[in-house]
Amino acid sequence: MDIFIEYLKAFVVGGLICVVGQLLIDFTKLTPARILVGFVVAGVILGAVGLYGPLVEFAGAGATVPLTGFGYNLAKGVKEAVEESGLIGALTGGLKASAGGIAAAIFFSLLAALIFKPSDRSISG
């Protein structure tokens, strides 16, 4: 039962964050790239003012998987690093905390590009 509630929380909170994105797509002129940037920066800010942490506590992956979670991760990393090593931490903390994800994205992109070929979407669907 606990696990069901945990999944339900992730589903609902993650879904709602995506709905915010969809509202931006439908009702503003913002392009996808701008929306992505907006979400990451919003994650940094919400993390900085201490609002995003409780949401992660509550919803788990529902809050960490959306791009706001990436921003939150950057903020959290910076906060820990500044506490530990002062001003240097402002430079190193963010990337240190998100290094795994960024490196994975770069490497898997490279692999996919080496293996696959782009296909004509007007045929494939």
Binding site: I25, K29, P32, P118, S119, D120, R121, S122, I123
Partner: protein
């Protein structure tokens, strides 16, 4: 000799004829309502080439070669060739046609290029500067996506006003023949910009240009809309078509019963996910060659206006926030 009726409109007193036409499209266009009418439908939109740019070049050269085959014309008999496409520096045309050994003039008028090349070829033939001239344009969904929008595998969302670039090419051979469809008059369009900045709403950017050119034609020739079977626009799509009819109505011209848009004809809106309709130089080129010219030859249509529209922009200038200027060139075509 041609008679200049105004700054924009020229009447061709010795009207040149469209001797032959050829059209090739991709699979999606072949699956559309006009599928049976194209000369060739290619299931493989790579056209056997390694890159999409080469695919488009191959598409265009295939169209010209098919045209020459159908009309049994040798390349040495073609005096000049007007060609264009949507790619930077018109490489679809230049790389596609470089082997042909025919005098070449490259044109860019965005999606209006088919009318631009047809007008140029007609004026050359009418003026006796060429006995036979080719006009050809092409577009390819994949090259256009790469250049103007996003990578093919990018999961971005298209807005309802966006249009789908046609993979297709149309080519015509212009010369002299008593019994073939004729170009009677042309109106060279002016650049019109009513401030649309959304590159995903080309129809709205082009509609004012179409309105301006059509109005100019009727004003200059003193013709009446009742004397025409169809007013054919290039690729205004649903949104642009609606706007064109409304704009012309404000000026007292009602084309609703006569208006047909190639971008709306080429796809099935219910079955094919194309949002506002088709676009691209290959859209009106292939529909003209596959649908309207045969109808004119068979006498099912007697007199039409072919008005191809273009959005004269590049991704760079749109990113700088500039609005999108439109253009529309018009050719009056009769059954013979």
């Amino acid at each position: 000799m041609a008679t200049r009726l105004s700054q924009s409109t020229i009447r061709l007193d010795k009207p040149p004829a469209i001797l032959e036409h050829a059209s090739i499209v991709g699979k999606k266009e072949g699956d559309g309502p006009l599928g049976q009418e194209f000369d060739a439908v290619n299931e493989d939109t790579t056209f056997g080439e390694k890159t999409w740019e080469k695919s488009e070049s191959r598409l265009q050269s295939n169209a010209v070669n098919m045209l020459l085959d159908k009309s049994r014309t040798a390349t040495s008999d073609v005096d000049v060739m007007f060609a264009g496409d949507l790619l930077n520096q018109c490489i679809g045309s230049t790389y596609g046609l470089r082997e042909l050994d025919i005098p070449f003039l490259g044109l860019f008028g965005a999606c209006s290029t088919m009318a631009e090349s047809l007008i140029s070829a007609s004026l050359f033939v009418e003026g006796g500067l060429a006995s036979k001239a080719v006009a050809v344009t092409s577009s390819h969904f994949c090259t256009a996506e790469r250049q103007f929008r996003f990578p093919l595998e990018y999961g971005g969302v298209r807005t309802p006003t966006s249009q789908w670039t046609v993979t297709g090419s149309g080519a015509v051979l212009v010369g002299c023949d008593e019994n073939k469809p004729k170009i009677r008059a042309v109106t060279i369009g002016k650049i019109v910009d009513l401030g649309i900045t959304d590159a995903n709403n080309m129809g709205a950017a082009m509609a004012p240009a179409a309105c301006s050119t059509i109005k100019t034609y009727f004003h200059d020739t003193r013709e009446h809309i009742e004397n025409f079977d169809a007013i054919i626009t290039g690729d205004l799509g649903k949104v642009g078509s609606r706007l064109l009819c409304e704009l012309l109505e404000r000026d007292g011209i009602n084309i609703r019963d006569k208006h047909l848009d190639c971008g709306c004809l080429i796809y099935d809106f219910d079955q094919q996910d194309v949002h506002a309709g088709g676009s691209g130089c290959g859209c009106c080129a292939s529909v003209l060659c596959a649908h309207f010219l045969p109808k004119l030859e068979r006498g099912e249509l007697k007199r039409v206006l072919f008005c191809a529209t273009g959005a004269l922009m590049s991704p760079t200038i749109v990113q700088q926030g500039e609005s999108i200027p439109g253009i529309c060139h018009l050719a009056e075509i009769t059954e013979n």
